[in-house]
Symmetry: C2
Subunit: 387 residues, 2 copies
């Protein structure tokens, strides 16, 4: 009897009330009932992305929205500046290569954030670059990149700022319109607490102008066609109906909570996790610009990280992500995005403490949990009438 | 966004695979399909109760099975010896009073177990007593009563031993036939990991002989009628169909795990909980005969226990039971029965540590968790290839 805990940065746990909503009997998508539901989630997504632009809903993973962003703004032969500081920065490069878009990578050490200066220099060197492509939160390295100052650079140029907000939107403040992001996209399986299968993408007026002239061949991801349909609260192709029911419930929950509380919740869990792993004597992968979505931790060199993670998952029931590519076996990534609460952090840290002990690493049991508790306690108010 | 944890000793959490099974489309109960299902759960229940007797399934709470036990064995004016060491001991008394059965209570201090000697003495003083009524695990005081030695006394007398096994069956060894228990009953919402709504009751040959002569008026709980139907794999009245689907899945899970592992699992979580609360300097309610189902803890006298529990539930999202009657506000009861794992114990202890701190009680954060971790670690094997 192994009770399972999903503490990976996507998919993330689905709240029971959302799972129930997704069990709603399927309705046909070409009906007034579904169009009403669709209109409501569209408005909720604008609230979530903090934008007056249309937020299009795609039946795809986040990668589909990334491809759509490039395909709808670039032409083969165009140049894109790509912030490459992890697995998902690399994905921008791969998409560009597949679509014939030339790339100017800004190489960033895994675990570090890009500097606005580096982007500014690349833009000066390539003033006709069609777009800067970046992650807000690079999930593979648990880094939060500085979107706001980079947007301050791009917004006065002809270059678009295209931001993969997959593990940022709904976890940290990412106001599309106020900052001047040209394309902001995200997916369903992160802060939105849904199963994978939906992606969301919004384009500024400046980005839509590019879309009219983009010459990458595209059909499913042709956002002009999609916008035309979605402005009438329907979709070009079959929508993922049950996920949209779930999305409706998620947006209700999130709006009830409010932006400030949502961001504070993620910040608190992230801070508790960082304090805990440092109290255990472990090093953060991204100490200077940590993501609110997940915390990367260097494992002791004596520990085989892959074995440790397998042990945690198969013996202890706790699924924590490891590293990718050259970080595989060397780090773990504790997620705290989405439907995750204080006791998920406690569970992750307790798992880590016990697993390290089982693997012979000298660890003081309870020490990481204590550090997490000290941070978490600050988030609970003093009782009204303490006895 | 408050993530909720149910750590009360009934209802207990329902495993997701069981919840899914209960969503099975309803089938009519007078069909071969349902009778097949019913036959399989009957056989599984015999395995669970470790008995060759028929185990009858009632659509009722556990209290219904308690009433059925008395109503089918006693006549008005009969005498029953009642072990009264908590809220559920009192319930036996109330049932007897309602049905006109005279009672000889053995008063046991809340938090203590009855002694077999006390039962022996009561039996000597009342040799014609129809039955001894007791709890195996008294949920209100988190005490485990000594059923086996008491059964050794009753089995050679004309008196029946009737055991409420509601928080014992499926949590600790309670072999009905080997020990010579005459009636063993339990409910669905404890170790069986189901929602409330089903009760189970098995009678020995000696108990069935009494049932033929019992003269308490009864209709719904007439077990003779129920046995006649259930021997044909159907029920006298409408069964709780969806719960029986869930039961089928639960019994599959439990049999896959096996008796020894089930009991070891509960013992491990109980031991970890006891170690943790003692490490926090708190006293156990039942130090000498602790139940495997839940651990009762005396709260510091300076703490208003009702406020503390409300804070834990409403602010922290963790539902832990308090005390009943004269223990209300003075104790809490941490459940570890049913679909509960090591990280539920960690969550309960972490909640307690932080809540005590918030209420101004001097507590060393992490100390209880560490003590729990030390016990829990013993249950995880050394990795095959520690690095």
């Amino acid at each position: 009897m192994l009770k399972r805990y999903l503490l990976t940065p996507g998919p993330t746990p689905v709240p029971p009330q959302v799972a129930l909503r997704m069990a709603h009997p399927l309705v046909h998508h070409r009906t007034p009932e579904f169009e009403q539901l669709f209109a409501e989630v569209q408005e909720g997504l604008q609230w979530l992305l903090q934008t007056a632009n249309d937020v299009l809903i795609l039946a795809s993973s986040g990668t589909g929205a990334m491809e759509a962003a490039v395909a709808n703004t670039c032409a083969p032969g165009d140049t894109a500046i790509v912030v490459n500081g992890g697995k998902f920065g690399e994905r921008w490069l791969k998409i560009c290569h597949a679509l014939g878009v030339r790339t100017v990578p800004i190489e960033v050490e895994w675990g570090q954030a890009v500097t606005p200066t580096a982007v500014e220099q690349a833009l000066r060197a390539h003033p006709h670059a069609r777009a800067v492509l970046m992650q807000a939160s690079e999930t593979s390295t648990t880094v939060l990149h500085p979107v706001e100052p980079i947007a301050a650079v791009t917004r006065h140029s002809d270059t678009l700022l295209i931001v993969d907000g997959i593990t940022a939107v709904g976890a940290t403040d990412m106001p599309m319109d106020r900052w001047g992001i040209d394309i902001l996209l995200t997916g369903s399986q992160k802060a939105l607490m849904l199963p994978p299968g939906l992606a969301f993408i919004a384009l500024s007026a400046k980005a839509w102008r590019c879309a009219e002239h983009a010459r990458v061949p595209r059909f499913y991801f042709d956002l002009r066609r999609e916008r035309k349909e979605q402005q009438r609260h329907t979709t070009a192709y079959t929508p993922a109906i049950s996920l949209i029911y779930g999305l409706h419930e998620v947006l209700r929950l999130l709006r009830e909570e409010g932006h400030a509380h949502i961001f504070a919740r993620h910040a608190r869990l992230a801070a508790a996790t960082r304090a805990a792993v440092q109290a255990l004597g472990l090093q953060l992968l991204a100490p200077t610009a940590p993501s609110p979505a997940a915390t990367g931790v260097w494992l002791p060199a004596t520990i085989n990280g892959s074995q440790l993670l397998t042990y945690m998952r198969d013996r202890m029931g706790v699924d924590i992500a490891g590293g990718q590519d050259h970080l595989k076996g060397k780090i773990l990534r504790i997620s705290h995005i989405g439907y995750v609460g204080p006791f998920d952090v406690i569970t992750a840290i307790s798992t880590l403490e016990m697993a390290l002990a089982r693997f012979g690493y000298p660890v003081e049991l309870g020490r990481g949990v204590r550090a997490a508790e000290e941070v978490l306690l600050e988030g609970w108010p003093t009782p009204r009438q303490p006895s």
